[in-house]
Symmetry: C2
Subunit: 268 residues, 2 copies
């Protein structure tokens, strides 16, 4: 099996560096003419996968929209993951999990292990410290999978904490960037990626030396283009993986419209 980075590079090399969110929230189910129900959830996910699996490098199902329906919604997520795997697409579970010790281990086992929720990569949240994520880092490294830790997000409510100053004079967000880079250096393979918002003019963290993948939500509907993004993030060694949800999904439910929306974005 290849490393997460090798799989990602191969697939983005063929299809372009884009991640598409699978975000079946109530408003989108209604906009697609689907019932607001488990059946609607399943049909939304199926249509998205069928329309885009061979066109898009990577998918990012937003776990909350499945969890919203309880265990039966999670069963729909498992089916969706199986369909994506079958189609050869890569999957980042957007779950933003974060805990300590045996609890963090259990989240890692759920999303990066061998069970029905296992994905290529997982988003994680570091309020308990990036060091608390160690069980997930270890398992991701062992299983050739990836993690994306929240560093600097584009929502305004996140600024106070993410730009707070740690005792050594760096921002909290920068400590995440630096720690993730160090982990990748020590492992010798870029298991740790970052989540960095892409809609501010100022990225807010120094990514010059970061070697790994930066997942960048917020292109498309939230204002950014692919070329704008490359200029905002100019000068970094990192691999950029822009992620789009609203702009592509709002073009549905017709498969041709979804595909045209992806094509437009890839060329933007």
């Amino acid at each position: 099996m290849n490393t997460w980075m090798e799989r990602l590079n191969r697939r983005t090399g063929a299809l372009g560096s884009l991640c598409v969110g699978i975000d079946p929230h109530v408003g989108l189910l209604q906009a697609w003419g689907l019932p607001v129900s488990l059946d609607g959830l399943r049909r939304f996910a199926d249509r998205t996968v069928t329309a885009l699996a061979d066109q898009v490098a990577c998918f990012k199902p937003q776990v909350a929209f499945f969890e919203r329906w309880g265990s039966q919604g999670m069963a729909v997520l498992e089916e969706t993951l199986a369909n994506l795997r079958q189609a050869g697409a890569l999957v980042i579970a957007d779950a933003k999990r974060g805990d300590i010790g045996s609890t963090m281990q259990a989240y890692a086992d759920a999303w990066l292990g061998e069970g029905p929720l296992a994905c290529d990569a997982l988003t994680v949240s570091p309020y308990l410290g990036i060091g608390a994520l160690q069980p997930a880092i270890d398992l991701a490294a062992a299983k050739q999978r990836g993690l994306f830790v929240l560093a600097r997000t584009s929502n305004p409510e996140g600024t106070a904490i993410q730009l707070a100053w740690t005792s050594d004079g760096r921002s909290v967000a920068q400590t995440m960037v630096d720690a993730a880079g160090q982990i990748n250096h020590d492992l010798g393979t870029p298991v740790m990626g970052l989540v960095v918002g892409g809609t501010r003019a100022d990225v807010g963290v120094d990514l010059t030396d970061f070697q790994g993948t930066v997942l960048i939500p917020g292109i498309g509907a939230q204002g950014g283009t692919m070329s704008g993004l490359r200029s905002s993030f100019a000068g970094t060694k990192a691999k950029l993986l822009p992620s789009v949800s609203r702009e592509v999904l709002a073009a549905g439910p017709a498969a041709a419209s979804l595909r045209a929306s992806v094509a437009r974005l890839l060329a933007s």
Copy 2:
């Protein structure tokens, strides 16, 4: 229906202020002589609820240990929640969810709404800002439920971020305390609780003026006693809700041993 705080006060008034974690991790399943399987998970949860539901005010299932088994594990959690409700116990889902916008709304709907995962309260994680939790705050207030936001935890990896300094000279953890207190003041009812670790001599945040509930993991096995806790947290107006997992659960699987362990802790 009474508010979350009224339900909590009534139940802790009758049984004592204690929350017991339901943490069926692999090591505990083995220690209880149970198979490491869905069946073992179900039997662990059933035994804990049957032994303790009439003795303990509040339970805190650790969601990761159910999610670890995928959708079928989440179905076991749903059964466990139904059993706890049936027995009249209060339940805090320890899920540490945190996101923004429609995604946060979906997590709120899952855990504080009307579905099979609905609980009395939910733990939430604020790396995206406490303001990003607004959909959960609104739903908790509307449904007479509660939230517990991570403020200051006892694991060493959390210190750098939680004691980072925000632009107005407070620590990140203190901004969580102050914001939660302000939200409760504005709502006129203490929907927002805090998670504050209980095993350091120095609590690390000023809780003097906080009016709400403080969930304090870490008594028992991690070193604290009930009376030690009351002295560490002396001088606050907050309601203290100590939470124990390891010390009680390690006494199982015999119901009498579990109950004796709870009785010992309540008297400590």
